[in-house]
Subunit: 350 residues, 2 copies
């Protein structure tokens, strides 16, 4: 006696954990399982539901039927799931992107399989494999490195799009215009008269930090100024990275009069270091951040920063990915950014 009985009463085939299956619905409604399946996935036909269709609907409602999407995915070969690889999720920028990715995906009928591995390529590629094993229809990856074994990403069975960071131009990515952002931030400080500007540059493997620093160099170049390499210090993206980086810079024999931190969190760390050294912002030190996360507008000294369209990045990445899943070519995009001047920067008064 298996499950392929001919039980006329229906209501059998309990499925896992007692959940009603299609089979149970069909039994209770006295129709064949395929009929139940069809009815449940149709919208009401022009001339209304047939008698048996109504019974199916009623049975599904009474039994609290929840379709088993694992089974249907197996059959249809589509999981309606997007894999997301987002290290450093605790960072506001990443979390904001993730939230917008989820909203966009959800309103398109997709769900998210999320992983937030360490920010290392090995761990990220491993995460990709896990996700593929789960049959995701596409992938969004937020923190690829500029170098490393990421060539493995070129030949995947599903479309992949990068966001936040890009690993190089060979991969479609939805990112902000980091070079322009870095340039604009720096030009703002140069225009205020600063000539020794320090940079808390982030890690060398992140396109965001690297390109914002490129913009920093570009701004100098446009004014025929040379960059003192001692003023560019690398760090991580955390608060503490900003603290350490700023102390390094401010301890120099000829310290900077302004510091550009490539993200807001580190910029807050820079503020902390300034306070520890008894320096006032912006009187003794000007500071520019990057991203415009919500808190920085309300700090005791509101932070001048570059606004980056984080929420839009997530939504657009999803849009492009879904288009690619639908068969279109996969297109990246570089979104414009804009400087927001607040109170942490002032003109050099000597």
């Amino acid at each position: 006696m298996g499950t392929t009985d001919t039980d006329p009463a229906g209501d059998r085939h309990p499925g896992r954990r007692g959940e009603a299956s299609l089979q149970a619905i069909a039994g209770r409604a006295g129709v064949h399982i395929s009929t139940a399946s069809r009815v449940l996935r149709q919208t009401e036909p022009a001339r209304g539901w047939s008698a048996s269709a109504q019974r199916v609907l009623a049975a599904a409602a009474e039994l609290g039927y929840r379709p088993n999407r694992i089974a249907s995915s197996l059959r249809t070969r589509r999981s309606n799931t997007i894999g997301v690889v987002m290290p450093r999720l605790a960072d506001t920028v990443i979390a904001t992107i993730c939230q917008s990715v989820e909203s966009a995906a959800r309103s398109a009928g997709y769900q998210l399989l999320l992983t937030t591995p360490p920010d290392e390529m090995g761990a990220q590629l491993e995460a990709v494999d896990f996700l593929l094993s789960r049959q995701v229809d596409g992938l969004i990856v937020s923190s690829l490195h500029l170098s490393g074994p990421n060539a493995r990403l070129t030949d995947l069975p599903v479309p992949v799009i990068a966001t936040n960071r890009h690993p190089g131009s060979w991969m479609p990515a939805v990112v902000g215009d980091d070079v322009d952002g870095g340039r604009t931030a720096t030009e703002h400080l140069l225009a205020l008269g600063h000539r020794r500007i320090g940079v808390v540059a982030g890690p060398r493997h992140a396109s965001t930090g690297v390109e914002r620093v490129e913009g920093f160099r570009l701004a100098h170049q446009q004014r025929d100024l040379v960059v003192d390499e001692a003023l560019v210090v690398h760090s991580d993206f955390e608060v503490e990275g900003g603290v350490v980086g700023a102390h390094t810079l401010l301890a120099l024999a000829d310290p900077p009069t302004a510091i550009f931190a490539v993200n807001d969190t580190a910029a807050i760390g820079v503020m902390g270091a300034a306070r520890q050294r008894g320096m006032r912002v912006p009187d003794d030190l000007s500071i520019v951040g990057y991203n415009d996360i919500p808190v920085v507008a309300q700090l005791p000294t509101p932070l001048t920063t570059v606004h980056s369209p984080t929420a839009m990045m997530g939504a657009l990445a999803v849009e492009r990915l879904l288009a690619a899943i639908g068969g279109d070519p996969l297109l990246g995009e570089t979104l414009p950014v804009s400087l927001v001047v607040r109170s942490s920067t002032a003109s050099l008064s000597r």
Copy 2:
């Protein structure tokens, strides 16, 4: 000709998107599919791999075999997936919990199906249904309301645990000791001599805010002081909520000399409002926050706050949930918190 051929060459049955299936491995190794399945899920037996097992292993490696976990889930009735419902993911506290949940789950071999719906009960329950449809083995929910139609959560086919907030004592939850945190924060201000303390209390539906305010009342009660209800203003948990709440409080005829904001983000908003009014912190206004998110230690005025064990909450929630999935009873826990005194609070000097 279907797929049940007897093709001796193997390498057929391309599976979706050209991925190799078990069938293909078996074909290439010249063994039956069930043998391939077994070999691939065994560890090396005592006397080493048999000849055919070696061929299976080789074939899998050559073809880059990735098991289709959707198929295996269907068969085993376990998805090895945890459903996560976390509204307000962009908030550092929530994102930190989410990250620790993911790490703990991943190291236990589970993956996360994440959804971050609006912070309303209807949307959250809808999310639960979607997740159940995807056959998650258990659920973690971070933002349940104290009231609303959450009775539906009592009779689910899989274990559910709350974290961050709890919806009432009827549901197992891993949360911080919010009453004690609120009491400690308030007692700190009372000990400094403050007698008119304002509260930016968060929304009425969140146990976190509500219980922190309970602690606030308790601290007064323990000193036989009465709370002026005009000093308790509700808000959301965002920066702007803090700004608005603080302005409301500071515009009172008899304004507070200190403000307790039930989360750090709102506390930063309070700082912003103070700045807008030309008040110095802590000289003119003392401020206490809650959570101890990383940035507050480095603010120009480092924030006094209550440290809550966010990362531990996530990890513990996963631990308890997995135990429940394994058949154990589902147990919640209330984790201790501690006050961190920094520079945003000072004794009342008059």
